[in-house]
């Protein structure tokens, strides 16, 4: 006898835990960025390559988790949150891992030399950007508590507070980005143009990490809206 006529068939896989697992893997990936930048600025490219491999591995496993998540998300599921919102959160989360890998890939591939004058600003900028991602992770981690309360009450206020903090952090990143760009602009005439072009590109992408994290916050806020 099989268990076809059992009540358990009505329960799908809850999307909350897998989404959190994916985000945790993404954070594993993005938090290695600082490590990578430090080794790259020290011109230790062998070590940088090792860190990059670890980042690639994290990105790959986040990709696998993403695929698993999508497979378990058929249209016939009835959930307390909309399927579209969840899938778009997942895409944003995954985007953070992809960006991290791209940033490190370009720096490693070109063995990019960032001018000494910019280094501390650059590290500070990248760190706050990673910090924004971690705040997004904090909001995602509250999803199981939100489910527990049925998306109502003081828990909603708590999550809204987290999202406000996330937005503030993102604004800090924006300011740091502006400052860094200005410094680079003042130096750019003395540097090889192609290098400058890629530096702007990297700054854009590091800024995009924080933007994506903020978008995750916005999406979580959408889940709270009735």
């Amino acid at each position: 006898m099989t268990l076809g006529n059992s009540i358990s068939n009505i329960f799908g896989v809850s999307p909350i835990k897998p989404l959190q697992n994916h985000m945790a893997e993404v954070i594993n990936c993005v938090s290695k960025l600082e490590d990578f930048l430090n080794t790259a600025f020290d011109d230790d490219w062998d070590k940088a390559a090792t860190v990059f491999d670890a980042i690639s591995a994290n990105e790959q496993s986040a990709d696998d988790l993403k695929k698993q998540f999508r497979i378990h998300m058929p249209k016939s599921l009835f959930m307390p949150v909309s399927r579209g919102d969840l899938l778009s959160i997942l895409t944003q989360q995954d985007h953070i891992a992809n960006l991290t890998k791209d940033i490190c890939g370009i720096i490693l591939g070109r063995q990019m030399a960032i001018p000494k004058a910019l280094r501390s600003d650059f590290i500070g900028f990248a760190d706050s950007s990673v910090e924004t991602c971690k705040k997004a992770h904090g909001a995602i981690n509250e999803l199981d508590e939100l489910l527990e309360t049925g998306f109502a009450g003081s828990e909603v206020k708590f999550v809204q507070k987290l999202i406000r903090e996330l937005a503030t952090q993102e604004q800090k990143v924006d300011k740091k980005e502006l400052k860094l760009r200005k410094k680079l602009f003042n130096l750019e005439a003395e540097l090889p143009p192609v290098n400058v072009m890629f530096m702007y590109n990297i700054i854009d992408q590091v800024g995009a990490l924080a933007d994506t994290a903020e978008q995750i916050g916005n999406q979580v806020e959408l889940l709270l809206a009735k």
Partner: protein, 426 residues
């Protein structure tokens, strides 16, 4: 009639065998459905669940199962039609048991979510309407039963929705849910005790009281039931004092300790679920058997007011226990592993909603499907945004399965009916 003196023993043996098989099926599969939520939410271990199921299933069948048994036994068919040929009713009930058992075996093998109740009702209607005549069926009663199949999941869903909403407002959304849980949960325990006591008093013990020349007014019943409720709540409160807050559990989920309090409540709702299940589903196996036995022992006198011999209920109870022991524990383990998403605060709302509906239906003698009612209750909790993900395809297949089960049970039972008639040379 010499027919019954000649074949009486063999007919009763056959019916007992089929009835036992049905009861085994109920124990192996259905009980696991009723109790699986408790195991899944880790409120009970499998062993504890089996033990509770054995005791309360039997109590439910014995104390509150009479009405449903009598509906299955004589409510669906018009016994007046069979006055001239009681052997047809015996063959019919035998074929109904056999058909339902057969259909359940096929369905379980193929993994279709069919219900014991739907199979047996379909089978009884089938042999009576086609094998005998369309007038032999109490169509109005059948209509009521079919309506109850539609209403019971909706009703269970509504109760569970409201229960879960009340839990949200009283406990989960408060600043200190742990203390609030300890304060309010005994109230839910009171309802569990009150519900079971009330149905037992109104339906189960009515006959016992009558025999002793006692009669209680509705108010007196309500008073006794309240006393039982208070007793249950007191026992529950004592158990609750033993749940201490463990801060280390709250690192991952701040509601971990609240759920531990609800786990205590779930022990009580699991008892009520087993009781409700026993009161409704045991009748599916025992009802037709009781009909056969009463006709054979009274030698064909259908209208004779035979009381149901206690061994029939014992057989039903024993079948369930054997089913649980031989197969049910496996099913329960699997179900328990699969539904970990259902936390005790949800599981209790679903179980109490379903148990309440089933017990009320049992009291009015309506055979409903416990599993489908529980599915309705779970959906109710889901509508209150309480469950991570529900598979709506399952709801569609459940509806389809009962549309298919009625004609399938009927067809098989018609087939067996004519086989029996031929075999016994009638």
């Amino acid at each position: 009639m010499e027919f019954f003196t000649e074949y009486g023993t063999i007919l009763i043996l056959l019916a007992a065998l089929c009835g036992f098989f049905m009861a085994w099926g109920v124990g192996a599969n259905d009980v696991a459905n009723a109790m699986g939520t408790s195991v899944g939410s880790k409120a009970l271990t499998i062993k504890q669940a089996i033990l509770i199921a054995m005791v309360f299933e039997f109590a439910g069948a014995y104390l509150a199962g009479g009405e449903v048994t009598s509906t299955i036994r004589k409510g669906i068919v018009d016994s007046a039609i069979f006055q001239e040929r009681p052997e047809d009713l015996v063959f019919g009930m035998l074929s109904a048991l056999l058909a339902a058992g057969f259909w359940l075996a096929i369905a379980s093998y193929r993994g279709w979510p069919v219900s014991t109740t739907h199979s047996i009702v379909g089978a009884i209607v089938g042999f009576a309407a086609v094998g005998v005549s369309a007038d032999a069926v109490h169509w109005s009663k059948v209509g009521t039963i079919v309506m109850s199949w539609l209403i019971s999941p909706v009703m269970a869903g509504t109760i569970s929705f409201l229960l879960f909403r009340s839990v949200q407002h009283l406990i989960l959304l408060q600043d200190d849910p742990f203390t609030k849980a300890k304060r309010y949960i005994p109230i839910y325990m009171f309802f569990v005790g009150f519900l079971i006591a009330m149905v037992t008093l109104l339906k189960g013990l009515k006959h016992v009281f009558k025999d002793n020349g006692m009669s209680l007014s509705f108010f007196e019943n309500a008073m006794i039931a309240s006393a039982v409720g208070v007793l249950v709540a007191t026992i529950g409160s004592y158990l609750l004092t033993r749940v201490k807050r463990d801060i280390s559990l709250e690192a991952d989920n701040r509601f971990a300790n609240v759920e531990r309090v609800f786990a205590v409540l779930m022990i009580f709702t699991a008892c009520s679920m087993a009781f409700a299940h026993g009161s409704n589903d045991v009748a599916n196996a025992v009802g037709p058997l009781a009909a056969v036995v009463s006709i054979v022992t009274s030698e064909g006198n259908i209208s004779a007011k035979a009381i149901m011999p206690p061994w029939i209920l014992l057989l039903g109870g024993a079948g369930i226990v054997v089913g649980l022991a031989t197969y049910g524990f496996k099913v329960m383990g699997t179900i328990g592993r699969k539904i970990t998403e259902l936390t005790p605060s949800r599981g209790f709302a679903a179980e109490l909603g379903a148990a309440g509906t089933v017990v009320i239906a049992s009291g009015t003698g309506l055979p409903i499907s416990t599993t489908h009612t529980l599915v309705g209750a779970v959906l109710g909790v889901g509508l209150a945004r309480g469950i991570g993900a529900l598979n709506l395809q399952m709801v569609g297949s459940i509806f389809l399965s009962w549309l298919v089960t009625l004609p399938a049970g009927a067809g098989l039972s018609i087939l067996f009916f004519f086989c029996f008639k031929a075999a016994f040379g009638q």
